[in-house]
Symmetry: C2
Subunit: 214 residues, 2 copies
Amino acid sequence: MRLAELSERSGVSTATIKYYLREGLLPPGRQINTTTAEYDEVHLRRLRLVRAMIQVGRVPVATVREVLRNVDDYSLGHTIRLGAALWALPQVPEPDEEDEFVLAARREADELLETLGWSNARQLTTVSPAYRSLVVAVAAFRRLGYEWGAELLVTYGKLMHEVAKLDLDFVDTQPSQAEKVETAVLGTVLTEPMLHALRRLAQEEESGRRYGYE
Amino acid sequence: MRLAELSERSGVSTATIKYYLREGLLPPGRQINTTTAEYDEVHLRRLRLVRAMIQVGRVPVATVREVLRNVDDYSLGHTIRLGAALWALPQVPEPDEEDEFVLAARREADELLETLGWSNARQLTTVSPAYRSLVVAVAAFRRLGYEWGAELLVTYGKLMHEVAKLDLDFVDTQPSQAEKVETAVLGTVLTEPMLHALRRLAQEEESGRRYGYE
């Protein structure tokens, strides 16, 4: 297809597509003559992915380039490639390892993974930004003086494992390896706001059931 | 307690506490003489709440003031007061009602609430920002050309209902009405990053189990 059709099918303006091409976020089309290039379904899919990261996920252009480099690195195994693509997304800053709350939160996080039996995730704790995020979030809660039993985090963890199985089931419905990796990145960017929204709606529902609207 | 002790117990500097007092985010202490004021546990709790919203939740000062106004409005019923406080938190922009994807997403969201039997939440769809967020998120996914069965959203919804029950159980452990409302606001700001982190860790775990690390 020509540039105009690519624009029409993706809903992205030709000026924006040209900008993505210049920035290397979209591979060049097949040059037919000096002024015309031909694009295909792979371009369309990539364009949607870039669009979602930038517009919905508010991911900076340099980061998008980094994520795509990992998505396209066929030398990596599937899980690692998936991880590498997701890990290039914006993450929380490094926790301060001198902080007593951070040290306690790290112990709590380690015990949690142990209790949940997440032995694969435990192997990744030195490199995984998700583990770092968990430590930061637990430390923030503890610093505010909130106490909860270890059981609560375990129960949240089990529910999130069910969510993760659904996530991966959906990724697995995608036909090609390339589409699987793209869908995993998109899913992370797009379904987080959706899950938030569902959680808040469920809170409203549950609050109404428990307390009514008096 | 004096300002110095309030600062020590909260981990917030005296300069920052004075700034919050000037901005009306913290009620004034009981004036003992012209230079000294006395603070109590209510100040400490409020200070932690303000700190969490500003530092962890990155909520703007004007919004924090708005949230606190609702937290302190005893004329509202419990559910409504909870909702009003949470609804003052930063939210997604209004969806464009002329957009075909938004209209389709709204129908999909309405059917979802119907299937889930969330009749309380359905009564709030005209005012609830959570409902608006759901519509925006579903529209974004559809615009990218992703298709999924209605069953997937229902399953995510059921899991989020389990999460919401845990959330409200935790809120209910708080002794006073004021603490319940404060905990609900804090929980929303602080546990969202925690649930994200757990979800991503669970994805890593599940990916390792399904595909290994080859």
